[in-house]
């Protein structure tokens, strides 16, 4: 049998790997993660039925952002600032050049 594609978009794979890496490095237990993620899925599912595709990974991202904010590993304000830095870097980098953050 052939193995189906595991992720629809590269960021989903990055997000998954980041979460597993944090767990493996001992920064949170997998049970803590599934509790946070389960709560986020439940909250979203109450509003609209989730299809398990893009909305699943969107919920995963929000759950991880929340967990990292609460633990102080990546406070929300910091995450928003770095996200904006990346956006600026993409917009300022000529097409075809590697995109890097300043400093």
């Amino acid at each position: 049998m052939t193995t189906p594609a595991q992720f629809d978009e590269p960021w989903q794979a990055q997000l998954f790997a980041l979460t597993v890496a944090l767990n493996e490095a001992g920064h949170f237990g997998w049970t803590d993660w599934t509790a946070a993620f389960g709560a986020e899925l439940k909250a979203r599912g109450a509003v609209r039925e989730l299809d398990g595709g893009a909305d699943y990974w969107a919920a995963w991202l929000v759950a991880l952002e929340g967990l990292l904010d609460r633990s102080g590993m990546a406070a929300r304000g910091e995450a928003e600032r770095v996200r904006a830095d990346w956006e600026r870097a993409y917009l300022a980098t000529p097409h075809g050049q590697p995109v890097r953050l300043e400093g």
Binding site: M1, T3, P4, Q6, F7, E9, P10, W11, A13, Q14, L15, F16, A17, L18, V20, A21, L22, N23, E24, A25, H27, W30, T31, W33, T34, A35, F37, G38, L41, G45, E49, D51, G52, G53, Y56, W57, A58, L61, E65, L68, M73, A74, E78, A79, E80, V82, R83, D85, W86, E87, Y90, L91, A92, T93, P94, H95, G96, Q97, V99, L101
Partner: protein, 204 residues
């Protein structure tokens, strides 16, 4: 998009979630909380190495080696380690065997706990609200939608995975597969048959 397109002189802006993930990665690696090499290793494992072919190897071994089958049912985590397969989150794998009396089916009602080391990343339907809610409530109806019609007398047992325990269904060996070697048997084992929403393929 051509490289010299005057309307797009800058790099293509990634999507909002992609930028947010990049931001987290930047912060966590800068703080030394995550090692970029570890991230790459995890990505490589899940994108290239792990998938249902590993679970299929386990099932095929259980079909052809009864001593292995016994070890698998007694302690699946240890048995799959014999084949060089191990979990990353320290989760405990439990193998549940289908019999003429009982058909097993796996769900995770909390989020989507799944035996990743054996089956890879779960398919979208496994992660959907519809499956997570209905698998427990009306398993036979869900099975019918997957094209699985069970004999009247065979009961359905639904197992709810958790962060600690992940279930692997060992389907019944299909008729006509006598004499096939392990590799040929593994080719009959579909992903869905190891979740319990499908049956193995019949030998050609």
């Amino acid at each position: 998009m051509p490289h010299d397109d005057p309307d797009h002189p800058h790099s293509l802006l990634p999507s909002d979630p992609a930028l947010r993930v990049k931001a987290l990665e930047t912060i966590l690696t800068a703080k030394g909380l995550v090692d970029p090499a570890a991230l790459d290793a995890i990505l490589e494992t899940y994108e290239e190495k792990v998938g249902p072919h590993l679970g299929a190897r386990v099932v095929a071994r259980a079909w052809s080696d009864s001593a292995f089958r016994d070890r698998l049912l007694a302690d699946a985590t240890a048995a799959v380690a014999e084949l060089g397969i191990s979990g990353r989150q320290g989760e405990h794998v439990v193998a549940v065997e289908n019999t003429p009396e009982t058909h097993n089916m796996v769900v995770c009602t909390l989020c989507s706990c799944y035996p990743w080391p054996l089956l890879g990343i779960p398919p979208a339907w496994y992660k959907s609200d519809a499956y997570r809610a209905r698998a427990v409530r009306e398993p036979r109806k869900v099975l019918a939608e997957f094209g699985v019609a069970l004999p009247e007398g065979q009961r359905v047992r639904v197992w709810d995975s958790t962060a600690e325990v992940r279930y692997l269904v060992v389907p019944m060996r299909p008729e006509g597969s006598e004499g096939l070697d392990e590799a040929a048997l593994a080719a009959l084992v579909t992903r869905d048959s190891m979740i319990g929403t499908g049956l193995p393929e019949r030998p050609a």
